[in-house]
Structure formats: structure tokens, C-alpha cells
């Protein structure tokens, strides 16, 4: 019995050491630093004060970036759900021999560089991009529409990045449903639509909510799409952190914003975990 106990510890020790030293300790540093003072000379002074947090909430500027982030995240989640549920349902129902290949195609964007996928939207939405080119040629417009550098463009980029996560999460959930349940519902007189509404849809909810949480959390931490596809007003919280830390070297304030972001996401994940259980997310990730 005793022999059994040291073995897993031995196997785990490299990864535990790595994660402890390179994740837990550094994150603790961020928390500690968020209470420090920044001298006018740029020096960081050890202290315990809430000035950095007070600064964040002092006027509407910083909270509005936070609200902006949350709004974009919410919009992305809703659109992802609308775009993702039907393809996931298609994979669940289809008898096609092409199904493995179609699924592979959904996963393909995972393998394509994120920055390329993001910047590829410039070719579509830009002033001389595909959409404007086609509209001009068809004579619908006389001057290019400005489709780029706004919130819509940012959300386009985010959707393309996050949709595969949503589709896979929903599909994993749908795939776990016993098909005899819908057959039973139909043999008891339900129409196809009723069977879907009363049986399939409720049973797919774990996947739907896991997908929503994942998309929401990933959007809240996103840096690249607002940088590349957004305008000056589309800054999100991660851009703010980067600007404060790398741009102005204000470590204490940057740390405080990081802590605010972590607390917010932590609260969301905690609430989710209480009601749904976090394992659903890992289930589909490990399938991916």
C-alpha cells in the first residue's frame, strides 16, 4: 500500500514543480505587485495599499474598457451559438460517409496560425477587400463601406477563432445522447420537431453551456483581434494590460488590472462549476 503512494508523486513531480514555479508563484507575484506603489521616478515600491484598484475605478475610462470586453464576449457567445448549433446537429444526424472528413475540416482552423486567421479578415473587410470589391463591381455602392476597424470586425475575427470550440462542445454532448430516446418520443406521437425540442435540445445543454463558457472566457482574455481588426474605441482589457506593462512599464497598475480580470473570470468559472461541473469542457477539449 505504501509503495503505491510514492509512485504517482514521482510521476507528477516534474509537472507539479513546473506549474508551481512557473504559474502559481508568478501569479502570486502579480497579486502582491498589485498592491505596490509606483514612484514618479518609475521605481516600484513595496507597499500594501489599494491605490491601483482605486485608480482603475476612479473614473469611467477603465471600467468602460472592462464593460466593452464583457459586451464583446457576450455578443461573441450568442453569435457562436447561433452559428455553431446547427452544424453540430448536422454532424450528429448525418449518415454521410464524408462525416469524418467534414469533422476534420472543422478542426482544421485549429491548425492554422491564429494571427493569419485574424489578419485574413482584412482581405475580406478592408476598403479594397472582397466584400467592397464585389459590391462596387455590382454597382450597389459607389464608395467602399468602412467595414474594418470596428467592433463588428473584431467579432468576426473572434467568431472564426472560437466557432470550432463551440461546435465540438455541442457535438460531444449531442453524440452522447442515446438515440433510442428520440425514437421513443416519436413512437409516442411526438413530431420530429417536438422530439428535438423536448428531448435532444435539453440533453445537449451541457455541451451548449460548456461551449458558451469556453468562448466567453477566451474572448475576455483576447488580445490580437482588437489589435488587428479593431479601432481605437475597441480596446479590450488584455490590450490595456499589455499597454500598461510593456508600454508604460507600470507594473503595479498592470498587475492590478490582471488581478481584476482573473477575479472576474474566476467568479464566472466558479459559478459555472457549481451548477454545471467543469469537467464537461475538458471532455470535449481532449476530443479535439
Amino acid at each position: 500500500m505504501k509503495e503505491k503512494n510514492w509512485k504517482p508523486l514521482l510521476l507528477l513531480s516534474p509537472s507539479l514543480t513546473a506549474v508551481f514555479l512557473l504559474l502559481v508563484v508568478p501569479v502570486c507575484f502579480v497579486v502582491v505587485y498589485s498592491f505596490w506603489l509606483r514612484a514618479p521616478s518609475g521605481q516600484d515600491i513595496p507597499a500594501f495599499q489599494f491605490g491601483n484598484y482605486a485608480k482603475f475605478f476612479a473614473d469611467f475610462f477603465y471600467p468602460s474598457i472592462l464593460l466593452n470586453t464583457l459586451r464583446v464576449a457576450l455578443e461573441t457567445v450568442i453569435l457562436c451559438l447561433f452559428l455553431g448549433y446547427i452544424p453540430a446537429f448536422f454532424f450528429y444526424k448525418t449518415q454521410s460517409r464524408l462525416k469524418p472528413y467534414l469533422m476534420l475540416l472543422v478542426m482544421l482552423p485549429f491548425w492554422i496560425s491564429f494571427i493569419i486567421r485574424t489578419l485574413s479578415w482584412i482581405n475580406i473587410l478592408g476598403d479594397s477587400g472582397l466584400i467592397n470589391h464585389l459590391l462596387l463591381k455590382a454597382g450597389f455602392i459607389s464608395a467602399p463601406l468602412s467595414l474594418l476597424y470596428n467592433e463588428g470586425a473584431v467579432i468576426m475575427g473572434l467568431l472564426q477563432y472560437l466557432l470550432p470550440f463551440m461546435i465540438l462542445n455541442i457535438y460531444v454532448s449531442l453524440d452522447g445522447i442515446d438515440k433510442s430516446l428520440t425514437e421513443a418520443a416519436q413512437s409516442l406521437g411526438c413530431t420530429e420537431w417536438q422530439a428535438f425540442k423536448e428531448v435532444t435540445l435539453p440533453l445537449s445543454m451541457p455541451g451548449v453551456s460548456a461551449g458558451c463558457l469556453l468562448v466567453f472566457v477566451l474572448t475576455c482574455g483576447t488580445y490580437l483581434p482588437p489589435m488587428i481588426l479593431g479601432g481605437p474605441g475597441n480596446e479590450m482589457i488584455a490590450n490595456l494590460i499589455f499597454k500598461r506593462v510593456i508600454g508604460t512599464l507600470d507594473w503595479p497598475f498592470g498587475s492590478a488590472i490582471s488581478v481584476i480580470l482573473m477575479l472576474l473570470l474566476g467568479l464566472i468559472v466558479y459559478t459555472y462549476n457549481r451548477y454545471m461541473g467543469i469537467n464537461q469542457i475538458f471532455k470535449s477539449l481532449s476530443n479535439g
Partner: protein, 266 residues
């Protein structure tokens, strides 16, 4: 019955449209890479390889490419070396605090990359160490470890304990059992984990922007820098090369594993 068929047709059509939406920008990058014009956008006028030629003569990009390859390879090796034993521990043993430790090791997925970037940089700064390539590798191992764990664990669950127990009862030592039984069965998952961590590392921008110095820039960081002055056909060409590379790698890997699997009679 007729309504039902039309509903299904609608679902198919909708799925098709989502595919079109998802892949149009990617296809556009590849097509525009061959646009000979100075400004890489529509309309296409002609067809040329000149941006690829220009790209192959750009020494900073080639350097960045080399950096990315080395970084990705080292990350893949270390990440699986650390992750596979941990996955073994989770699937093969029962111990106290298992759930908690598992959550802790998967946590980097849920923590925004910006925060990871700040945290590690702050720590290194406190240790009064300069940013370096080693730090970049270390950071990328932390980023990719959760994915390796998830992939290897998922595979390990499917390998029956009985095989290992049979080997042990026939007199094999635990190490022999691992080498002869577990490892060959697990090899595809280890390979997948390596491939995955390579891709994540090769692809990463946000955290790398925090950790990279001017000397050890990666390809995505380089592209990010080039984007400051609007999109050029050279970026599209680089994008096309990256798309072809990163898409063909997993497809080739998948094909090879299937071939080998068939070769061994499975």
C-alpha cells in the same frame, strides 16, 4: 415526410454556409499571395510568385522561422516529457488530492494568456534575469502542458490495465512493462501531444510578445510587427506558406499513423 426532408436540406445548407464563411478568408490569403500588385488586395491582376521569392530573401523572416522551429521542437519535447508521466499518474493511480492537482495542472488553459505573460515576466524581473530564449521555452511549456495532459489522458483511459497486468504477472519488470506494452500503445497519443504543443508554440502571439526579445522573435511576432504598416502581399505570401505547412503537418501525421496502424495489422 416532405417537410422533414426540406428541414434537413436547410440544415445542410446552413452548415455549408458556415463552412464557406469559415474558409473564405483563409482561401483569400492564399489567392492574394499570388497577386503581383504592390497592395495585396482585390482585384487580382495577374499571377506571380514574386512575393514568395522576396520572402525567401528576407533574412529576418528566415531567422524568425528558424527560431519558431527550434522553439516549437523544444517545447514539444519538454512538454511531453513532463506531461506523459503526469497523465500516467492520473489514470493509473489513486491518490489523495487527485482532482485538485488535475485542476491545477489544467489551469493554464483557463488563465488568460496576457496574465500568464505578465506573471512570468514579473517573476523573471524579480529574479533579475534578462528575457531569454530559455525563458521563452519555459513559458511555452507551461502554455502547452495542459493540452498534452488532456490528449494523453484521453488515450490512456482507453488502454486496458489488463495488458500491463498480464505483462507484470508474466515476469516483466515495471520498466519493461512500460517499454514493451504501455509505450507502444501510447505512442500515437504522445506523438499527437507533441504535434499539438509544437503547433501551439509555433502559433502563439500574445504571451510571446511579452517574452520575446528583438533577437528571438518568432514568425507570428514578426508578422504582428509587419502588420503595423497595413497588409502587404508579402504578409499574404507568408500566410500562405504557414497555412500550407501547418495544415499539411497534421494531415500527413494522421495519414502516416493510419498507415502504420494498418501495417501492424490493427
Amino acid at each position: 415526410m416532405k417537410r422533414l426532408i426540406s428541414g434537413w436540406t436547410l440544415i445542410k445548407l446552413y452548415t455549408l454556409l458556415v463552412y464557406v464563411w469559415m474558409f473564405t478568408p483563409i482561401v483569400a490569403v492564399v489567392i492574394l499571395a499570388f497577386n503581383p500588385q504592390q497592395f495585396g488586395s482585390f482585384p487580382m491582376e495577374g499571377f506571380s510568385f514574386k512575393w514568395f521569392v522576396k520572402l525567401s530573401q528576407n533574412s529576418t523572416i528566415l531567422d524568425a522561422f528558424k527560431n519558431s522551429m527550434i522553439l516549437g521542437t523544444l517545447t514539444a519535447i519538454f512538454s511531453t516529457a513532463v506531461g506523459v508521466p503526469a497523465a500516467m499518474a492520473f489514470i493509473r493511480y489513486e491518490f489523495r488530492g487527485k482532482e485538485l492537482i488535475n485542476t491545477l495542472l489544467i489551469a493554464p488553459i483557463m488563465i488568460p494568456e496576457v496574465v500568464l505573460g505578465v506573471a512570468l515576466l514579473l517573476f523573471i524581473r524579480w529574479l533579475q534575469q534578462p528575457k531569454s530564449f530559455v525563458m521563452l521555452v519555459i513559458g511555452h511549456v507551461v502554455l502547452t502542458l495542459p493540452y498534452v495532459l488532456l490528449i494523453v489522458q484521453a488515450r490512456l483511459v482507453g488502454i486496458k490495465r489488463e495488458y500491463e497486468e498480464a505483462a507484470l504477472s508474466l515476469g516483466a519488470s515495471p520498466f519493461q512493462t512500460f517499454r514493451e506494452i504501455t509505450f507502444p500503445l501510447l505512442a500515437p497519443a504522445i506523438f499527437a501531444g507533441m504535434l499539438f504543443s509544437f503547433t501551439i508554440s509555433f502559433d502563439d502571439v500574445t504571451a510571446t510578445l511579452f517574452w520575446a526579445t528583438a533577437q528571438n522573435q518568432t514568425v507570428p511576432v514578426k508578422i504582428f510587427g509587419m502588420l503595423r504598416n497595413s497588409i502587404s502581399p508579402e504578409i499574404n505570401a507568408l500566410g500562405a506558406v504557414m497555412i500550407v505547412l501547418t495544415v499539411s503537418t497534421p494531415l500527413l501525421a494522421g495519414y502516416l499513423t493510419r498507415r502504420f496502424a494498418r501495417g501492424t495489422g490493427k
